[in-house]
Subunit: 349 residues, 2 copies
């Protein structure tokens, strides 16, 4: 089959690799219907994270189950499934606590899983899925093809944006600001709107992303950054800042922006993978009672809640995909996102 | 009147000072019935915070209103009042948001207040109370003298322990660990119990404090610290850590203890004034979805909720006072706490 590998900085290749096989009784083999490139894939692509040797890449996909092992009870061949960006059993104490990203048996795509060895990355034609009953979410019926992009966001970005909003405590009447206008930031706007926020301030400088932000429910756009950005948010929030700020970038600057844009007693919900730090300034958080909550989003647990609104068309998170390419053009997909010609690229095998 | 001043490291004196007078129409003059020494008062006492010049000290007191200004509507002469450890108007947006410690007009005892100039410190015979209607909580009737210690804890430590528990999201069935066995940590145990926690692990090495911890609802005591302490907490919590950990110290070590003792997806509620740091380790928090929430406790807003249980005797937070001295012995009160001969000292003018 074909799969995407990263060889090093700005070196993405689609190559013929061995087909995956069932390696434990709890595995499934899934034929990928759609996958995509994540903002976090750009780290090794840009060389921020060094690539020691060529390896498979990708961690978001939806597909059709082709085969299951003898211990798989819930998932069956023919199911249309959504895979979260990680593997989880759904039964351990952390999964039951809603933190399936900390699954005691869990693991990550594209590397050696804890159970059964290598698991494929998703940016390919097929994937061995460990702990299939826990990892995969099966739809009751085959979805309309037009829904594929939105279903694919449940694999990561929509669930991750939702996690930012839930972690920050967004609810009816909330005054929210969102730092970051990538796919996750945009989905955080959609999630905040869905949860009842009535003021949603999108911090964005790009006209195309501002348009999606408005479509998703942003009531205001702030283009300024740093102290000017904080000032602009305060001007829109009675001088005090937002109840909840959703941090969807992961840099020192973005976290600083988020903390300073939050009102006293408010909360930052953060899902931007912290890029080598930053450490959080506890004294200013303490004096203003600004909390920080979030982390690597346990999206598997959110699919059941978010799916009905996707299926009904009430929300359309798939709008974050502004480019669709065949799998064989994966290198161009990375380049387009790296050069900001695309917000998020969908790959079709 | 008599009042307590700090002159420098380990130099506390009780001196004759001018009686306070009404300086704005919103002021009240309160005759102090009881005050006390706070753990945070030990910082200047120990020289950790330098004392540039002699000044008044103290910030927790209860008393009887002697006189009110013409703009005071709610508080009246003769009222028995509880003062929080800060001044607040009760009407600004931050007060209405439940964060009266960030009151737009508010201030602190023992220094120049934003309204009306100098406000006394509480460790004295009388206090000028700015913004009396917002700051003071008046009881409906004069309390029994035996209740004075518990009522005094509503000025700071019981409300602060409660804030740690509320900020961390403690509720029915919670599995809680408490870092710190000072008056605030002990009150955090009581607050967690009151909010329905069913497992409460007190981290304490002192037999006398362990006894109060048990009395307040601790179900387990952990004497170990550092990695051994984390291991002990995990051994009591199915291997994963506590749902909520209440950090009631404020050092780098105590926050580290708290973060590492929290289960994935859990929350640290912190009220220990951060002692010159520490910055929070965002990457480990992110990977485990451990949040941090809390800060300088808005205790004024908690009095109405906590008072009924104090008046009924359902809770007895006044047990944290293990020494009562006349105001004239304030220097000995500080020494006793500094040398850990007392957990918390009550002063009677």
């Amino acid at each position: 089959m074909l799969a995407t590998l990263i060889y090093g900085e700005r070196d993405i290749r689609v190559e013929e690799v061995a087909d995956p096989v069932l390696s434990t009784g709890a595995d499934a083999i899934v034929r990928v219907v759609a996958s995509c490139v994540c903002g976090s894939d750009l780290w090794p692509y840009r060389g921020v994270t060094p690539t020691e040797e060529p390896h498979r890449i990708g961690h978001e996909f939806v597909g059709i189950v082709e085969e299951v092992g003898p211990d798989v009870a819930r998932i069956k061949a023919g199911d249309f499934v959504i895979a979260p960006f990680y593997v989880c059993d759904g039964t351990c104490v952390n999964c039951l606590n809603g933190v399936s990203t900390s699954c005691l048996q869990g693991g990550w795509w594209g590397g050696d899983d804890k159970v059964g060895g290598f698991a494929d990355g998703g940016q390919g034609e097929r994937v061995r899925v460990p702990l299939a009953d826990g990892t995969l979410f099966a739809l009751e019926e085959q979805p309309d093809d037009a829904l594929i992009p939105s279903l694919l966001t449940l694999s990561d970005v929509f669930g991750t944006g939702h996690h930012a909003a839930v972690s920050a405590g967004v609810g009816p009447g909330s005054v929210v600001a969102v730092v970051g206008d990538g796919a996750v930031g945009l989905c955080a706007i959609l999630a905040a709107k869905r949860l009842g926020a009535t003021t949603i301030i999108a911090m964005s400088r790009h006209a195309d992303r501002q348009a999606i932000a408005r479509e998703f429910g942003a009531t205001h756009i702030v283009e300024e950054r740093g102290s000017d950005g904080v000032k602009a948010v305060k001007a829109l929030t009675g001088g005090i800042g937002a109840d909840q700020v959703l941090e969807c970038v992961g840099t020192k600057e973005s976290m600083d922006q988020a903390l300073r844009s939050t009102r006293p007693g408010g909360m930052v919900g953060y899902v931007g993978v912290p890029n080598g730090g930053p450490e959080l300034p506890v004294r200013s958080m303490f004096s203003r009672n600004v909390g920080v909550n979030g982390g690597v989003a346990p999206v598997r647990g959110y699919i059941a809640e978010l799916l009905p609104d996707v299926l009904s068309g009430k929300v359309d998170p798939g709008l974050v995909f502004d480019l669709t390419l065949p799998l064989t053009d994966a290198a161009e997909a990375y380049a387009a996102m790296d050069e900001r010609r695309a917000t998020k690229v969908l790959l079709r095998p």
